[in-house]
């Protein structure tokens, strides 16, 4: 056992940190978009930054060199992910989805042409894909999706509706799951496609999220014709590809690192703020609360480290990722709630209030953290996975 990073890894961390210090635009820091708070303005800044990161090879560092990656070790990836999240670098969630789920699926299942067309562009930061999975009646039960893709000549014609499609209005392509065989059992007739979001027949309707921002959308497909080569992997085997993609490394390390930063800011606030003549940091209840947050976050971090370590040993975590995701989601909610208690009335203030503290990050987290245990597989579904896949408990 050895919990130390190697010297080489430590040098790498410093290099990343140094680079981020120079490259994160001031404007981004001012806009300070939290989770699900991207605007077109911040999105544009983020895309510029992502290209820079791509040029460094740090956007998709683990990809094979032929597709623009550096074949970086899992531990260095971990370090990079930590530093990016801790520094609040301009990376939208869709980039993570694109880099960590979509492109690796293409590497695994795509044709040579698809790999050439998409994977290197992803690694360069040139394209972003949105996820077209959920439908009004297919949330946790994703396999019951109804959007149809029918083969006609050398095209597929798509009809149906997707929902909760995050940043669908800003993404270049959609990574779409559609039903290609309506007669087969529900897991058997699904296929995956890459669809250009500018294709005629696609209508996007904004959904305003709880932070009063436009992050997700309903996407309607109305006789949308796409070339046959848009199919990824095997026809009707999309479900199995999709499940494997869900097991790809989930970046709960990013959440843990971002949350670490927030806890540190709370600690700073507690030290600098006096109430009834005493620093908040002297209040035993507040000390206890902050210490507990630090404990929980360290537990979350070790769970994420374990996943990176498993990958580095050639193992494939599955329920271990679920544990890590469920746990960090609850730590983040706890941090938001505890932060609110520590800040008291000040925690309620939104950004443009003159008395707001910590740039209203706590009140925004109170809202945004609600999504962490829901999107991308709810905590209940993750717990089912831990119980059944992880512990072998019976289904019935």
């Amino acid at each position: 056992m050895d919990f130390k990073f190697t010297e080489d890894e430590e040098v790498f961390r410093l290099e990343v940190r140094q680079w981020l210090k120079q490259e994160i635009p001031q404007k981004w820091i001012e806009l300070d978009p939290g989770i699900w708070e991207e605007t077109e303005e911040s999105w544009t800044l983020a895309r510029e930054f992502q290209r820079k990161l791509g040029q460094k090879g740090w956007l998709a560092p683990s990809y094979p060199k032929e597709y623009g990656g550096l074949e970086l070790s899992h531990m260095k990836r971990l370090i990079l992910a930590e530093e990016l999240a801790y520094s609040r670098a301009p990376l939208s969630i869709e980039v993570e989805v694109t880099v960590n789920w979509v492109a690796p699926s293409i590497i695994l299942f795509g044709t040579e042409k698809q790999k050439k067309d998409y994977v290197s562009s992803v690694a360069k930061g040139d394209i972003i894909l949105c996820l077209g999975y959920s439908e009004p009646n297919a949330g946790s039960d994703l396999a019951s999706l109804q959007t149809r893709a029918v083969e006609v000549g050398d095209e597929y014609v798509i009809n149906g509706q997707k929902t909760w499609c995050s940043y669908g209005h800003l993404a270049d392509y959609c990574w779409l799951a559609a039903r290609t065989d309506p007669d087969a059992s529900k897991h058997e007739g699904i296929s995956i496609f890459i669809v250009d979001m500018k294709t005629p027949g696609i209508t996007i309707r904004p959904l305003i999220n709880i932070l009063n921002r436009h992050s997700f959308n309903e996407v309607f497909f109305d006789d949308v014709r796409i070339p046959k080569e848009s199919l990824v992997g095997q026809k009707n085997k999309g479900w199995y590809q999709l499940v494997i993609a869900l097991d790809f490394e989930r970046s709960s390390i990013g959440y843990a690192a971002a949350n670490q930063r927030l806890i540190e800011e709370l600690i700073k606030y507690a030290k600098e703020t006096t109430r009834s003549g005493e620093p908040l940091a002297n209040d035993p209840l507040i000390r206890n609360e902050l210490a507990q947050l630090a404990v929980e976050n360290e537990v979350a971090r070790m769970m994420a480290y374990r996943i990176a370590w498993m990958f580095s040993k050639g193992l494939h975590p599955s329920y271990e990722s679920s544990m890590s995701m469920v746990f960090i989601s609850e730590v983040m909610r706890h941090t938001a709630n505890a932060g609110m208690r520590i800040l008291g009335h000040y925690g309620e203030l939104d950004r443009d209030s003159k008395w707001a503290v910590m740039n209203a990050r706590i009140m925004r987290m109170c809202l945004s953290s609600l999504s962490i245990g829901v999107g991308g597989g709810s905590n209940e579904i993750q717990r089912n996975i831990i119980a059944m896949r992880g512990l072998g408990l019976p289904r019935k």
Binding site: I210, G344, G347, E348, L349, L367, L370, G373, S378
Partner: protein, 377 residues
């Protein structure tokens, strides 16, 4: 012993439920949340016509002489529906203060106008320390030629932006014990030197910064005794805390009802999600929390209503309800999944309320400290 509502209370509850459902739909709630004013004068006057503003005032002041417990039943329903506006400020924080501590002249002047919906009040107590203790009252009122000049900054003042009068808690004398030397003034909100700025908050309730920049008021505007204001504040805070708990109980009930209904309707994997034990357990825990909050709140409200010592029970109710409301709305969000993460859905309105209610008049830690003290620790 009787833990149930009287027939009259049941009627009040039902009337309030039906009226608010019809007259204060969530469409209006959202609209008011987004507006600067934060209340609808049409709804306000209808509520006044129903006698809600004067519910607990004696008849001679235009009231209907019901008791405090009745008021909490009404507030529970207001919490169930969510009714944006200055009812709480005007009736609980302002009206009850004037009723308990005001002079006959003040009662005659203010209470009938409150009861008829003509007057809106606000209580300016908290300051930049954001806490509810006497030592935090730094705003000064200095006697000058038979008048008083008020100077200081009040923060997190509810509904001051629409108030006709602001009850300002100010220090008139420096004393060793910070509870001495505090005086309450009824300040015309239009007085020169009163500057009110709306603060944008999570619950989109209308909290304000109110700056008193050398505001001159007459001696007649003092409520209660000069330098003897703190016991009045303590009394109103106790009532307000129970009243807030009642609102919270209503909110928890609404969140539970919404979540349970959805769990019955929403189908995934070919069955209602409410048939999954994970969801059933959430609902069961929520129901338990609602019930727990309700009866400790009723007990505290009953004690206050009967004029019995209630410090322990009030603190227990707020300590419990503060955290229960948060837990319940969080579970509700979990049950709603992505749809609950939208602005269009109603559940976040309750989640936001829960956060504000948790903090106001002291959070659970603050209340537990009172409980410990009351237990002789």
């Amino acid at each position: 012993m009787d833990l149930g509502l009287s027939e009259e209370q049941e009627m009040l509850k039902k009337l309030a439920r039906d009226f608010l459902q019809k007259e204060c739909p969530k469409r209006l709630v959202r609209q008011l949340d987004e507006s600067d004013q934060g209340y609808s004068s049409e709804l306000w006057h209808k509520m006044a016509e129903l006698g809600w503003m004067g519910l607990v005032f004696p008849e001679k002041y235009g009231g209907s002489e019901r008791n405090f417990l009745d008021l909490t039943i009404l507030l529970e329903e207001m919490g169930y529906n969510i009714v944006p506006g200055p009812f709480f400020s005007t009736v609980v924080l302002g009206g009850l203060t004037v009723l308990t501590a005001g002079s006959e002249e003040q009662k005659m002047e203010f209470l009938p106008k409150i009861a008829s919906g003509e007057m809106i009040l606000s209580l300016a107590l908290t300051e930049p320390t954001a806490s509810y203790d006497a030592a935090s009252v730094k705003t000064k009122a200095i006697a000058h030629n038979g008048k008083y000049v008020i100077k200081g900054t009040k923060l997190f003042v509810l509904n001051a932006n629409v108030a006709d009068y602001i009850l300002c808690v100010a220090r008139t004398k420096q004393a060793k014990n910070p509870e001495n030397g505090i005086t309450l003034f009824l300040v015309d909100a239009k007085s020169p030197g009163v500057k009110c700025t709306l603060l944008k908050t999570l619950a989109r309730d209308k909290q304000c910064e109110v700056v008193f920049d050398n505001v001159t008021v007459s001696e007649k505007s003092i409520v209660g005794e000069r330098d003897g204001g703190w016991p009045i504040v303590k009394d109103v805070l106790q009532k307000a805390t129970v009243a807030k708990c009642a609102e919270m109980v209503g909110g928890t009930q609404a969140a539970l009802d919404m979540a349970v209904n959805y769990a019955k309707e929403r189908v995934q994997f070919g069955r209602p999600i409410g048939s999954f034990q994970a969801i059933q357990h959430y609902c069961a825990n929520m129901a338990t929390d609602v019930s727990g909050s309700r009866f400790v709140t009723y007990k505290a409200a009953w004690k206050v209503s009967e004029g019995l010592p209630a410090a322990l029970d009030v603190a227990i109710a707020k300590a419990w309800a503060s955290e229960a409301y948060g837990r319940i709305t969080l579970s509700a969000h979990q049950i709603f999944g992505a749809i609950g993460f939208t602005m269009d859905h109603d559940i976040h309105l309750y989640y936001r309320q829960a956060k504000a209610a948790e903090i106001i008049f002291g959070d659970a830690d603050f209340q537990r400290a009172i409980v410990a003290r009351e237990l002789g620790l």
